[in-house]
């Protein structure tokens, strides 16, 4: 069974949309993710032809747009601007450890897009594209012309912001007036981390009041406190204000998006190559699918290559997996699976074609 034929057949009709494709550098890989780079294509049909004829295991394009994308070395390409790409990535023990975590990661993607990119950065949703990475995470491509000229340092600042690097919630409370012993702080209708902090606190008080203090169990003191926060006044409570500030550290946790953590370099690097959306990932056989509705997205239902069932023989033990809806397999087991699941286990080197 030739894997490349499966890929090539998929590429014949694959939905390839790459804006300004003629300005992008391409990289392809067979043994590793990128064996060769500095390729370029004049248009989508030329690119498609290449994918069908040569069919690499991995294909990526530059986030950058160049005047001469095929020129080497990189300085001669003449950088024009670049998409901003955020890489959300998870790691876990074992070959199949990450897959159960993918579902949980979606809420981080949603938070990244809605809270940070749209609300804080003021980027319109139409400029944001969510792409399944084909393996262990998601890529978020941002194509707002106002942001695309940004240099590496400025991009790094955006990532640090999202990751909450250097965030100290005590800075939200600068105007401590000792005279009236009044503690002023962020209001829920504010933007950025300040508003996020206030909103999260109110939510916490409503859903799990004792996490902050036992005194908020009763409706009256809780309501009084919340009404104060809405006006940015954190003193409407009998708690000592210093004590209150300490207790609020609980709220300051998880305000940022933790999973962007792993690959800041992707966003910062102005000449980075990123997997082509809707191309196939050579380690899983899954499509790096452009995701329209992330809540409903499921990799094995929506990003698999369709085809007839195939028989495979396992060459190592594989645990029961929810994501592929497969039972536990033992070494030497034979199984007949839908094409994309069979392909997945073969490419993960847990099985061979039978």
């Amino acid at each position: 069974m030739n894997i490349r034929n499966i890929f090539a057949k998929y590429y014949e009709t694959a939905d390839i949309r790459i804006p300004e494709i003629e300005k992008r550098e391409f990289g392809i890989g067979n043994n590793k993710k990128i064996d060769a780079r500095h390729l370029n294509f004049a248009n989508v049909s030329e690119f498609r032809k290449y994918l069908c004829m040569n069919t690499p295991m991995f294909v990526s394009h530059s986030t950058a747009y160049y005047r001469f994308p095929g020129a080497t070395p990189i300085q001669k390409k003449h950088w024009l601007y670049a998409d901003i790409v955020f890489d959300l990535d998870i790691h876990a023990e074992g070959k199949y450890g990450v897959y159960p975590l993918l579902e949980n990661m979606k809420k981080d993607v949603v938070r990244l897009v809605e809270d940070f990119i749209v609300n804080d950065f003021g980027i319109e949703r139409q400029h944001v594209m969510i792409v399944f990475s084909g393996n262990r995470g998601y890529h978020v491509h941002v194509r707002d012309p106002r942001y695309m000229k940004m240099g590496g340092e400025e991009r790094r600042e955006l990532v640090d912001y999202i990751m909450g690097q250097g965030l100290n919630y005590l800075d939200f409370f600068p105007s401590r007036e000792t005279v009236h012993s009044k503690l002023m702080g962020p209001r829920p209708d504010e933007g950025g981390y300040r508003g996020r902090f206030a909103r999260k606190l109110i939510k916490k008080l409503e859903e799990d009041p004792t996490a902050i203090s036992r005194i908020f169990k009763k409706d009256q003191p809780r309501k009084f406190f919340i009404d104060g926060i809405k006006e940015g006044n954190y003193s409407k409570t009998t708690l000592k204000l210093d004590d209150l500030l300490n207790r609020l550290s609980l709220i300051a946790q998880d305000l940022s998006v933790g999973t962007v953590n792993t690959d800041v370099a992707v966003t910062q690097d102005l000449s980075k190559l990123i997997r082509v959306p809707n191309s196939v990932h050579g380690e899983t056989g899954l499509i790096a699918k452009i995701v329209d509705d992330i809540e409903a997205f499921s990799p094995f239902e929506d990003a698999g290559i369709n085809g007839e069932n195939r028989r495979i023989k396992f060459i190592e033990d594989v645990p029961e997996l929810e994501i592929t809806e497969t039972k536990e397999f033992r070494k030497e087991d034979m199984a007949e699976l839908p094409l994309h699941k069979a392909l997945f286990f073969v490419l993960r080197k847990s099985a061979v074609w039978a």
Binding site: G122, R146, M150, R156, L158, G164, Q165, G166, G192, Y193
Partner: protein
């Protein structure tokens, strides 16, 4: 005559004043002097009276840029940029709102009710903790800035503009000569940093790279570099020599600050602090930069 063009010789207003003006030896000499002043750290502008003097003064700025462009020396250009932006800033402090906005517009710094869009903000904000995006009030794609901060951003814009000088195609002989004379004015020893890949963590290597290129470093970066160099046991003189590459180098201040840091025994900040300064540029997972010297070469190679 409006002196606006004189105060801000980088604006289109200044270009208009210069229309038809000719480059002569006198102007080139004035341009040379203008750069020399920057190298010597003389911040004061000249007092001029007549219209002709104003034109000559503005022309000297244009000549200075030609000299710098021809010379292509980042150290001298950096010193010039810092000096000129500080002079312009001193003027800005005395301007009314309309004039400030006129200059701001030059850099696309357009505020509405103290709000500035994030890309422009990030382009011009100084790299220091209070300016970090995370510490700002943000309202849907815009950052709140005070009037004073706006001036700081403009100053940074001016400095960046001054650093970005095109290489003239066919510069006059006299300009070339002025450039060569400038080289003689340079401090005796230029910074020599000889390190090879892997000697220090990537963030330190990046700072060395900036120093080599005579780029300006933010306060936090200078601070971190100093604690690190002290931490690895470098001699005070050697540290001062490294800092001498910075465009606003002042030996006395540098020496004082380094010996002060040494005396106080300030520790090298942790990686997370460096990240919060915005200086981290790799994923080393070593916790503290000094640990770099304890990890294996193979691990070092894996970190980029």
């Amino acid at each position: 005559m409006d002196n606006f063009a004189l105060r801000y010789p980088f604006t289109d207003d200044a270009k208009q004043v210069l229309e038809g003006a000719e480059l002569n030896s006198r102007i080139i000499e004035m341009g040379f002097q203008r750069i020399k002043n920057a190298l010597e750290g003389k911040a004061a502008g000249k007092i001029v009276y007549s219209e002709n003097e104003i034109i000559e003064e503005i022309a000297s700025y244009a000549a200075a840029r030609m000299i710098l462009g021809t010379l292509g020396n980042q150290f001298i250009t950096g010193r010039f940029a810092v000096n000129e932006s500080k002079i312009a800033r001193a003027h800005l402090n005395k301007e009314n709102q309309a004039a400030v906005n006129r200059i701001a517009l030059h850099f696309g710094i357009i505020t509405n009710e103290n709000l500035l869009d994030i890309p422009t903000y990030l382009k011009y904000c100084p790299k220091s903790t209070p300016y970090r995006l995370i510490n700002r009030r943000i309202v849907s794609g815009k950052v709140e800035i005070s009037e004073n901060e706006k001036l700081r951003l403009i100053e940074e814009g001016i400095r960046k503009h001054m650093e970005d000088i095109p290489r003239p195609n066919d510069p006059p002989e006299e300009i070339k000569k002025a450039g060569e004379r400038l080289l003689l004015e340079l401090p005796k020893h230029q910074t020599r940093i000889t390190v090879k890949e892997g000697d220090h963590p990537p963030c330190i290597m990046k700072l060395f790279e900036s120093v080599k290129k005579h780029q300006n470093l933010p306060h936090t970066a200078r601070w971190y570099l100093a604690t690190y160099l002290i931490g690895i046991g470098m001699e005070e003189d050697a540290i001062v020599e490294i800092y001498s590459g910075l465009p606003d180098f002042n030996e006395k201040i540098t020496r004082y600050q380094i010996s002060h840091a040494k005396k106080k025994g300030y520790r090298v900040p942790s990686c997370s602090t460096i990240m919060s300064y915005g200086l981290c540029c790799a994923v080393c997972r070593i916790g503290n930069p000094l640990k770099w010297h304890t990890i294996s070469n193979i691990r070092k190679e894996g970190i980029r």
